[in-house]
């Protein structure tokens, strides 16, 4: 699990500013500091190392070209970087998955145990102060809502794929996602 101190966050923000100014050395340092986090996520989502490596490189090129889009007032640098990587992974999945990867609710490089056992990211996350609120709110969701949200996040599953993975009608899965996110939002805004 990644925990960044305020000092590290500030440093990442500084690096992003320099990258926006075309400083290649800062891009390299930013990559060195953050790429294992992004690569871990991409490996989780894409499963194939060659896809994950392609997405990783594309993500940092995107950062190189669009670093000025990062707004420190809207969130932490690592959150922004993760967003860039996830969108790239989602794009790759949409164009390449096409049944290439069997939809599964259990198989993954690092299985998400959404039942709340010791190895799950959800449980490990509560050790981090920054994640505590999100995870507390996640526990307020029903089991199927929580599972749907986590599978969509970590596996990049579409509604249809979630329907297959959870063996439930498409409309039901859509409702789980919709209600789960609404409940999550309500909790996060408290």
């Amino acid at each position: 699990m990644i925990q960044t101190t305020a000092e590290e966050r500030e440093h990442l923000g500084t690096l992003l500013s320099r990258v926006a100014g075309g400083d290649q050395r800062s891009l390299a340092e930013l990559y060195d500091l953050t790429s294992p986090i992004l690569y871990g996520l991409l490996m989780r989502m894409l499963r194939r190392p060659e896809w994950a490596q392609e997405a990783l490189q594309d993500s940092y090129l995107r950062v190189w070209q669009r670093a000025e889009a990062y707004d420190a007032s809207k969130g932490e640098p690592i959150g922004w970087l993760i967003g860039v990587a996830r969108y790239r992974a989602l794009d790759l999945l949409r164009t390449r998955r096409d049944g290439d990867i069997e939809v599964s609710d259990t198989e993954a490089p690092e299985a998400v145990d959404i039942e709340g056992q010791e190895s799950s990211p959800e449980d490990r996350a509560v050790e981090s102060e920054g994640l505590e609120r999100l995870m507390r709110c996640m526990r307020g969701l029903t089991e199927v809502q929580r599972k749907s949200v986590l599978l969509a996040y970590y596996e990049g599953y579409s509604h249809t794929e979630l329907s297959q993975a959870m063996d439930a009608p498409l409309g039901t899965v859509k409702a789980w996602i919709r209600r789960g996110l609404a409940r999550l939002r309500e909790c996060l805004e408290r």
């Binding site: 294992p36 992004l38 690569y39 871990g40 490189q57 969130g75 922004w80 996830r86 981090s128």
Partner: protein, 269 residues
């Protein structure tokens, strides 16, 4: 679609970030993001909240060549230097016919070199006595420059242990005076052997560059031998050499197996 419905906008933003908003609906929302501040606010809200999930997973170190390729792609002025002499510093223009000035542009091709010589051995009858090997001018665990404003090395090639992820990234210092080798992983030596980097040029003896680092992320900087500078074709090769031979410069010549070599970095200048 009624985007003036606040609840709907929230829902769309959430599903957009989560990734469950697909197809035309996703594209419409992306168009809306360009002009609608509230849509961007909602998207930012979810991006930041959900990104926490991404920080829960264990970090995984990406392969070394991803970084090298990224920096190569992110630095078109350096990579295109030979075709844009106006942007070149004087020192680099002066060396523009040097193979080292062209090496970076062939980085990708070089990294594809396979171990077609695996198992092939140099012997005293195969090659003449090589030149005396060089001592590294610096050994460090830092792969990049340490001073602010210092330019990054120029990716030149990659040599690998066949069938494994272990490899060495070879880069040139910006002044083209030194070659930096960075180990992508720990290399556990068996017995009294170590990995030696060579430079092969046509119609010439192999030129010993030096002993490659064996500890992950360790880098060694070598002076580029005068015999190699300005040559039209250059190939890197690694051999497994007995330690006693590798350290005895006077009698050293490649006797171990060639594990890997790049293709010619420059075919003609």
């Amino acid at each position: 679609m009624r985007y003036d419905n606040a609840e709907l906008l929230r829902q769309l933003a959430a599903e957009y970030v989560l990734g469950t908003l697909h197809g035309a609906a996703r594209r419409r929302f992306e168009t809306l993001l360009e002009t609608d501040e509230e849509a961007r606010f909602q998207r930012d809200f979810w991006e930041q909240r959900l990104s926490e999930f991404g920080q829960v997973l264990s970090p995984v170190a990406p392969p070394l060549d991803v970084r090298a390729e990224l920096l190569r792609r992110a630095a078109p002025p350096v990579m295109n230097a030979t075709s844009d002499p106006v942007r070149l510093p004087v020192a680099r223009r002066r060396r523009k016919r040097s193979v080292w000035a062209y090496a970076a542009g062939f980085a990708t091709a070089a990294s594809l070199a396979l171990a077609f010589l695996l198992g092939q051995h140099y012997s005293d009858t195969d090659v003449a006595k090589p030149n005396v090997g060089r001592s590294p001018v610096a050994t460090t665990m830092a792969a990049g420059p340490s001073e602010p404003g210092e330019a990054w090395p120029i990716y030149a090639a990659e040599v690998r242990i066949p069938g494994s992820a272990k490899g060495w990234l070879l880069s040139l210092t910006p002044d083209h005076e030194h070659l930096i080798a960075v180990a992508s992983d720990d290399f556990f030596q068996s017995g009294r052997q170590q990995l030696q980097l060579w430079c092969l040029v046509p119609d010439s003896d192999p030129v010993a560059i030096g002993v490659l680092p064996s500890e992950k992320d360790a880098s060694v900087t070598f002076q580029i031998p005068a015999e190699v500078r300005g040559r039209d074709q250059v190939t890197f090769a690694i051999t497994l050499e007995p330690i006693e031979r590798a350290t005895d410069n006077e009698s050293r010549r490649p006797v171990g197996p060639v594990l890997n070599q790049t293709r010619n970095l420059v075919d003609a200048i």
